[in-house]
Assembly symmetry: C2
Homo-oligomer: 500 residues x 2
């Protein structure tokens, strides 16, 4: 079955929001700087949306970004699937009214300036118009939709109504956010560290379509395996809890709740007009429903990334394999702080490991290889011994050096490279050391986390990211990531057992 | 006074460890791969150490990495300032004995395999030999020294005995670590995010020279303003406490203590042979002495970076200026979790701010500009209004967009750039928007933290890093950094008041 044959949930009303065949856009022009609408149109065009199905509406301009523009939606000889409105708030009701008259049933209202600044009147007007014409809408006060799985004209196009022009690699992570920033500004860093986003909803004030609607879509979306939520308020609390309870054992949900403190609540009030509630209530809901909660954006991104890999540990026992005593000790300490186990190895395992490590190394957990260039041991033999012992549930390996860079430095310094290393490029390393162990750990359900201090720009690190293998520049995050995997796995086990 | 005229503490016995005029190296060869000594020699050469003052000692080789090698230290017609030993542990005593006979008074013993693996006998031997010949030594089981302020032949050379070939920019941060990893493996990320290291000591088992000696040097070192410590054990507890108490009000100290949990203690035992103590005891000492403690390596690096800037806030009130309600709310929440204040602005300040923000924005703290391209307001006018009000002690600005990248995207998309932006390159932005406000905030002692989600590779972000202005890719770290600055500033104030 190739990707295109997967059966998406075409019957869900959000399907056409994510995959409109045609779009009218209000508020785009040729002034890319300082006009959000211009950048949004730019992104729709450059994502690969069929150009002849994009209809800019503008009272004066005849041509916008190479597209024919129409004076009014009422002049348009077509009836587009979606109307994207990026205008000052005062004229939104009129435009929405005309869209209704035209027969348009879907809208993204990017415009801000409604209930989040106390403008109740405008808010009521758009609600009424939408009701009258049965228009479903996202927003207002939002960036709309990013869909890297957009289906027209072909499956590798992207539908992006947001103004952020950077796009991460496509993957199985979907985001729903009350903030356009969390829904899109993170894309640069996503690209850098390999957080692969498939869909992102910026739902703003959610005066019509809300987080529950989007979750409902993602529940059965075959392109989504992991869900990230940024929450300022939950309007339909009961529906939300019922739904995430159902989803989270199938698809891990990582969540940020931004409310719960005085200044945050004030900020949220002015942001989406929501009234945020007590932190403890939300945290209790997250715990009860098996969601992974954090209030750090980097954690959020790394957690999504590690869940997207899909290898869940069976328990919470961590094995640490390291070149370096220092970071081994730090990881062990962090692990214990998170309630994970870093068990001492059995005598049996120790005796098996003895052959794999230099004389000066201690055989224990963390296992410190000191300075060793035996790549096979590090990538294959030791991890396999650890896993086959049944004594650990996950492994962190420090360091997965980018050998190519080291060789380049040596060459540039006038040094000679031993023959055995001549063939050792990243492709060979990938084939000989990564692929076999990756197959093995998937079978055994023991996640391995790699750390390469040469950083995310290193070629070897890019190989990991290309292949969705968790790689980190330093050693804080892998411990945190194993911790949330173990926690989630435990929750899932409990739920599944309860169901039997 | 130029940098070279600063008066370093030449009389301190560590001065010649950091600035040896000549060096003998044992254990280097031409096999760069798999031999730590070869990489260490490579780095000494490529750091700019005078080539005619590097003496490789090797029983067989006549030429090592382009340098004449000597069969034994006893054959060497010179008496080098320092002997760097990277040999298997069993022959270290003999070599050290010969160094003693030769009259060498300083050594870095990189070799591991002493008390950290229970080899008490070897350990005792080197202690005795060192005593007999009055040799001071760093190590064993260490990477030695990185000194970016090495003085010969000229002040911009670097003396690097570690095997890590990457070097960060030179700065006023110095590190002392029981782990070579913390002392050097972080250099790639340091370079990326602009943690500028001047000196780094990897002190290993510290069987002679210890953390107290190094701290003692750094206390008066004019090239060091901030100190980072990675600690597995403190041998001279009283001296340590007395010294850090004296140093920390002058030079902030950021510290990681790696011990205190079961697995970490086991790991440390096998790493440097130290017996680590209770976490609470260490934390109490850190608090009492005003040190900034963390157990995350990224925090450690960012804290060092922010202290190296040298602008301390007078209090703990944070002003947040943002394009984005979402990250504003998250920062406000994080700030309150850290016990910081995010005060509501006074009516007076609000009325002054009203002219600077779009109609649809709320005037409050966080101040959400929504989508605004008024660069002058964001960089200069609003921060000045906030600071002059006296209502805040630090500001976080989201987002400091790299305009150049945005313009490039527009150009590539076939868009036209308005004339006013034609001159707007990074140099102009730097001159017009960064320099003036940076002078102002230094005078007022109100730190500003900038966030640019386009990431560390962005050209505009590199401008900040070049100029030591705190810039972040996302919004977790600036809140943490303000929090430690405020905490430290408060400690310092108390100490200074007590002294009056």
């Amino acid at each position: 079955m190739n990707e295109f044959d997967k059966n998406p949930i075409e019957s869900h009303f959000l399907y056409s929001f994510l995959n409109p065949k045609s779009i009218a856009i209000f508020g785009a022009n040729n002034e890319y700087i300082g006009t959000m609408g211009a950048m949004m149109l730019r992104n729709i065009i450059f994502g690969g949306f069929p150009k002849d199905k994009i209809y800019p509406i503008h009272p004066k301009l005849e041509n916008i970004q190479g597209l024919k523009a129409y004076k009014s939606i009422l002049n348009l000889p077509y009836n587009p699937d979606l109307a994207h409105i990026i205008l000052k708030p005062s004229i939104v009701p009129q435009v929405l009214e005309e869209c209704g008259q035209k027969g348009i049933k879907r809208s993204i209202i990017t415009s801000g300036g409604f209930r989040e600044v106390g403008n109740e009147n405008l808010y009521k007007q758009i609600i009424e118009i939408a009701k009258k014409y049965r228009i479903r809408f996202i927003g207002p006060n939002c960036l709309g939709i990013y869909n890297a799985w957009y289906r027209y004209p072909e499956y590798n196009a992207c539908f992006n109504t947001m103004w952020i022009y950077e796009t991460p690699e496509r993957g199985n992570i979907s985001i729903i956010a009350h903030s356009g920033t969390i829904a899109s500004h993170i894309f640069w860093v996503c690209k850098e560290i390999g957080v692969k986003i498939g869909k992102s909803f910026s739902i703003g004030n959610e005066d019509d379509i809300d987080i529950v609607d989007c979750l409902n879509y993602l529940e059965d979306d075959p392109e989504t395996s992991v869900i990230g939520l940024y929450i300022e308020e939950i309007k339909r609390g009961n529906e939300f809890i019922k739904l995430v309870k159902k989803i989270s054992p199938k698809k891990p949900i990582v969540v940020i709740y931004a409310g719960g403190t005085k200044a945050a609540t004030r900020s949220i009030m002015g942001h989406t007009g929501s009234i945020a509630g007590d932190d403890n209530v939300f945290e209790a809901v997250f715990k009860e429903t098996g969601m992974i909660s954090t209030f750090w954006i980097k954690d959020f991104m790394y957690y999504l990334r590690v869940f997207s890999r899909g290898i869940l540990p069976k328990g919470d026992r961590l094995g640490i394999l390291t070149d370096s005593g220092g970071c081994g000790a730090m990881m062990a300490k962090a692990a214990e702080k998170f309630g994970l186990k870093v068990p001492e190895f059995s005598d049996d395992l120790k005796s098996k490991l003895k052959d794999c490590v230099p004389d000066i190394a201690n055989i224990d957990n963390p296992l410190d290889l000191t300075f060793s260039f035996d790549i096979h041991n590090k990538y294959i033999k030791i991890p396999k011994l650890m896993i086959n012992s049944g004594e650990i549930d996950g492994i962190i390996i420090y360091a997965a050096w980018g050998v190519q860079e080291v060789l380049d430095v040596i060459k540039k310094s006038g040094g000679k490279i031993p023959e055995v290393f001549h063939q050792m490029d990243n492709a060979m390393m990938q084939k000989a050391y990564l692929k076999p162990i990756q197959r093995f750990i998937r079978k055994k359900s023991v996640p391995i986390f790699y750390i390469c201090p040469q950083g995310y720009s290193n070629d070897w690190v890019r190989e990991f990211i290309k292949n969705n293998i968790p790689i980190y520049d330093l050693w804080d995050m892998p411990v945190k990531c194993f911790s949330v995997l173990a926690k989630y796995s435990n929750y899932r086990k409990k739920i599944l057992t309860r169901k039997l």
